[in-house]
Symmetry: C2
Subunit: 206 residues, 2 copies
DNA sequence: GCGACAGTGCCACTGAGTGGCATTAGCTGT
DNA sequence: ACAGCTAATGCCACTCAGTGGCACTGTCGC
């Protein structure tokens, strides 16, 4: 995820470069000119690849815009699958998230903030981004359920994961609203604060 | 929402009939042939309407598939805006949801179940449906925040609403998984059960 | 060097969604 | 009943996202 892995087959390296150039340029163009105003032809022209090649790297226009999201979720899934996760589940999930954020590429932070800002101003990206969350929760529930035997209460598990995502999204929104203040450490702090708010949120009155 | 309102201007009635025919036929075709395999031309042919007219009634192909969702959320928003909502917010939101479900059209139940099943098997619909939830939560937060003065803690409010949606979605998933057993009463019971699970979900261990 | 083959470019195609303009059909007034 | 107004519709041409097919080229294993 983070290293360039100079010691890859030449072909792989080239392909990876193209992938990154696409994501990078897409983010720039979408931010500068707007998402709808930028066509895939524009993007492919800028990166000097054919549209066909674009679609071999990304499944859709939304996908390339949300590459930073995807990176985070896939790293997070890996971590959850590998971690032991003892103690209260909700807390364990949060800790795993902290660790994942910590381990992300330095460049990722910038990309992620830009992606969040983009996604909040473009409805179709927002929906697609929520789709990622959903897929990730589904996968997490499967991982977790498989681990503690098949007979575990799936609904409670799913609810836990959904609440986790609810808190994550709320924290993310706050982070973006304040312009990504404090970088990923700021985000981590907001996540902590937001999780701490949960008991209050359950009982607060209108 | 529920009555045909025979006492509308003829033009309005006709337009409404077209709208309903589109949603109804779309749901049938999508279910029978599959969402991707059904083109908008197919749908327009079946309803005997031009594609241009379709797009004057629905914003997109996803929109018409999720018309039942949209009906629910818009009714729910109305109710939340009108209700007093005293006591614990989360509980008040749930009660309002019960009441909204109760008040929906008899036909709506069938459409809604079909819509849920469709949405769970078609990723793009799932994402779009999550987008609806998101828009609704945003609107609800604005309504609620506006009501209790501007100075209220927005984050806590948003978190509450997000948790509400998390529980709703979990309940919905369970309901769909058991084939909509018990109709809307069954769904209401599942919602109650799921909300009751929340404290457990916060503390349960992996 | 020399095949094998992954990755790419090019081209033609489908289908979603939009803009423009002429036409229809429902609501006026007289 | 008739003519005029206007909302709603139909029709046509267009853009752009996304796909399939096939020829080509650069990389890898021998």
């Amino acid at each position: 995820m983070s290293d360039d892995l100079r010691e890859l087959p030449l072909r792989e390296r080239k392909k990876l470069r193209t992938r990154r150039a696409l994501a990078e340029t897409a983010l720039r163009l979408f931010t500068e000119r707007g998402y709808d105003a930028t066509t895939l032809d524009d993007l492919c022209d800028a990166v000097e690849v054919s549209k066909r090649t674009f679609f071999r790297n990304y499944r859709s226009k939304e996908d390339v815009a949300l590459a930073a999201d995807s990176d985070l979720w896939s790293a997070y899934l890996d971590r959850v699958a590998a971690a032991r996760l003892d103690g209260p589940l909700l807390e364990a999930l949060r800790v795993a998230l902290d660790a994942t954020l910590e381990a992300m590429d330095a460049d990722w932070e910038r990309r992620f903030l830009a992606t969040r800002e983009l996604s909040e101003s473009v409805p179709v990206l927002q929906a697609h981004s929520l789709g990622y969350c959903q897929d990730t929760t589904r996968a997490m529930v499967e991982t977790l359920a498989g681990r503690s035997g098949a007979g575990v209460d799936d609904s409670r598990l799913r609810l836990t994961v959904e609440i986790f995502v609810a808190a994550w999204r709320t924290a993310c929104l706050r982070w973006t609203a304040q312009g990504g203040e404090g970088g990923r450490d700021g985000l981590t702090r907001l996540i902590e604060q937001t999780f701490a708010l949960i008991p209050d949120a359950l009982t607060c009155t209108a």
